[in-house]
């Protein structure tokens, strides 16, 4: 690990939904530029971590630092106070997210989906925003569909547009939440290819929650195996997938392989 400071520092966070404790004192760190894969059974808290980082869920306790700054707190006179909306807005500029169900804006064409946020949140002039959008759409192979409406696209195409839309804000950290889970099998590959390219070409920090173990293996520098809100095991993809040490990791991988997923 290099001497630089972690870009994400999660410190003892907990989160409950009703009586169900999803996260209980979880701590972890991510270094700048790291590509992380979060794997584990459903309900293990992987997606919740991403949603917390995107401020879609609030934490019940603990602290999170993004890029050296508190995410949910403001430091004032040496005291940590709950963050206000203004602070959250500033912190969100560092983070982008791609959703399982794309969440494109159905009433806006592909181009407008990508340019809307830069124009509104950063005041980017339309011409600049559109030029950048075309570059990004080119990268995800969707430039020829710029004028289409989302309803005219396949799931894989929608997801590639959603990736371009998140990238348009140039976040330092990208969160991918099961981005291929809702796709027909034959469309999974086109989205994974875009993400492989992205991982190889950018120094963005990326967190990926996935059930595609083969993809996690190719994509990640480090794999975290979650179970019941805790990190059971972590390591390089080869270590986790070829020589898992923990029984629970072995059991999980066995089940996944039995279910027909490739590793």
């Amino acid at each position: 690990m290099s001497a630089s400071a972690p870009i994400i520092k999660i410190d003892g966070i907990s989160k409950s939904f009703g009586n169900f404790k999803v996260l209980d004192g979880l701590s972890m760190q991510v270094m700048p530029g790291e590509k992380l894969a979060l794997i584990g059974p459903s309900g293990s808290g992987k997606t919740t971590i991403l949603r917390i980082l995107m401020t879609l869920e609030r934490i019940d306790g603990g602290h999170i630092q993004i890029d050296g700054e508190q995410l949910y707190h403001i430091e004032r006179n040496g005291q940590l106070l709950p963050a206000d909306e203004r602070h959250l807005t500033r912190m969100r500029q560092k983070i982008g997210m791609v959703f399982q169900l794309f969440n494109l804006f159905p009433h806006k064409c592909v181009m407008d989906n990508v340019t809307l946020a830069p124009m509104l949140t950063k005041g980017t002039p339309r011409a600049t925003a559109e030029k950048r959008a075309m570059e990004l759409l080119e990268m995800v192979g969707m430039a020829d569909k710029a004028k289409n409406m989302p309803a005219q696209l396949s799931g894989g195409q929608k997801q590639r547009v959603a990736i371009a839309r998140a990238l348009a804000l140039s976040p330092k950290i990208m969160l991918f939440d099961e981005v291929t889970s809702a796709l027909d099998p034959e469309l999974v590959e086109e989205v994974m290819n875009v993400m492989r390219k992205l991982a190889a070409e950018t120094d963005m920090t990326m967190l990926l929650v996935t059930h595609e173990m083969g993809f996690a293996h190719d994509f990640a520098d480090r794999v975290l195996f979650f179970d019941r809100g805790k990190i059971v095991e972590e390591g390089k993809p080869d270590e986790i997938f070829r020589h898992p040490k923990q029984e629970r990791t072995q059991g999980f991988l066995k089940k996944i392989i039995a279910a027909g997923h490739r590793v």
């Binding site: 982008g96 969440n103 409406m149």
Partner: protein, 219 residues
């Protein structure tokens, strides 16, 4: 025959008043619907309480009584309105209260994932509302807005009670002067119906235009 055409002219004048009332009342109703409908979803208790009080009060009391208040009671506290102003006020506030619930329901019908996309793209509350939520919610509101507009059109008949010369008022004038009941009332029945049809068509074509592209059909 010439006599009848004169009476028909009277009724047409009444139709113009009815149309005027309907248009102006609808504008006020639409304004109140958005203010109160969004007020009900506000983070601030005071705004929610005010919006709820307005909606419940104007839905819960009779349009007749509201009109009488606007025209006969308000002068006692120093506000004198012309019959037209009183009519627009009562109709707009009354129908606006119903339409406010339409606005609220439509906004709430937009899926959570759209709000989450707004957060992830760092749009402010108002930006997300203005560019993402409302344009989609508007499409949900439109059919019911059409209903509300037709209700408003039909409710305009009550203004004849404060001597505003609308369609119903003129029909009564014609009836009194000619002694014929059938013809004037049949005429205004048809005119109300045609006006309601126009509203239906207008709203439906607006709906079609706004829905373009949303269903995957080529634009």
């Amino acid at each position: 025959m010439t006599q009848w055409s004169g009476y028909f002219g009277l009724i047409l004048q009444g139709a113009l008043v009815t149309i005027e009332l309907t248009l102006m009342g609808s504008v006020l109703a639409l304004f109140m619907a958005f203010v109160a409908g969004m007020g009900r979803l506000s983070r601030f208790f005071v705004l929610r309480a005010l919006a709820t009080a307005y909606i419940e009060f104007f839905r819960g009391t009779s349009i007749f009584v509201q009109l009488f208040w606007a025209y006969f009671v308000l002068p006692f506290i120093g506000i004198s309105l012309t019959p037209l102003q009183a009519g627009v006020l009562a109709l707009g506030l009354n129908v606006g209260a119903y339409a406010a619930e339409v606005v609220r329901g439509a906004i709430q019908s937009i899926g959570r994932e759209q709000y989450e996309a707004c957060t992830a793209l760092n749009l402010g509350r108002w930006q997300g509302m203005r560019h993402i939520i409302l344009p989609q919610a508007l499409l949900v509101m439109l059919p019911t807005f059409g209903n509300n507009a037709i209700e408003l059109l039909k409710a305009t008949a009550v203004v004849s009670l404060i001597s505003l010369a609308d369609l119903t008022f003129q029909a009564q004038v014609v009836r009194a002067q000619t002694g014929n009941t059938m013809v004037p009332f049949a005429t205004i029945l048809v005119i109300y119906f045609i006006l309601a049809l126009l509203i239906s068509w207008g709203v439906r074509s607006l709906e079609r235009r706004m829905a373009r592209g949303l269903d995957g059909v080529r634009v």
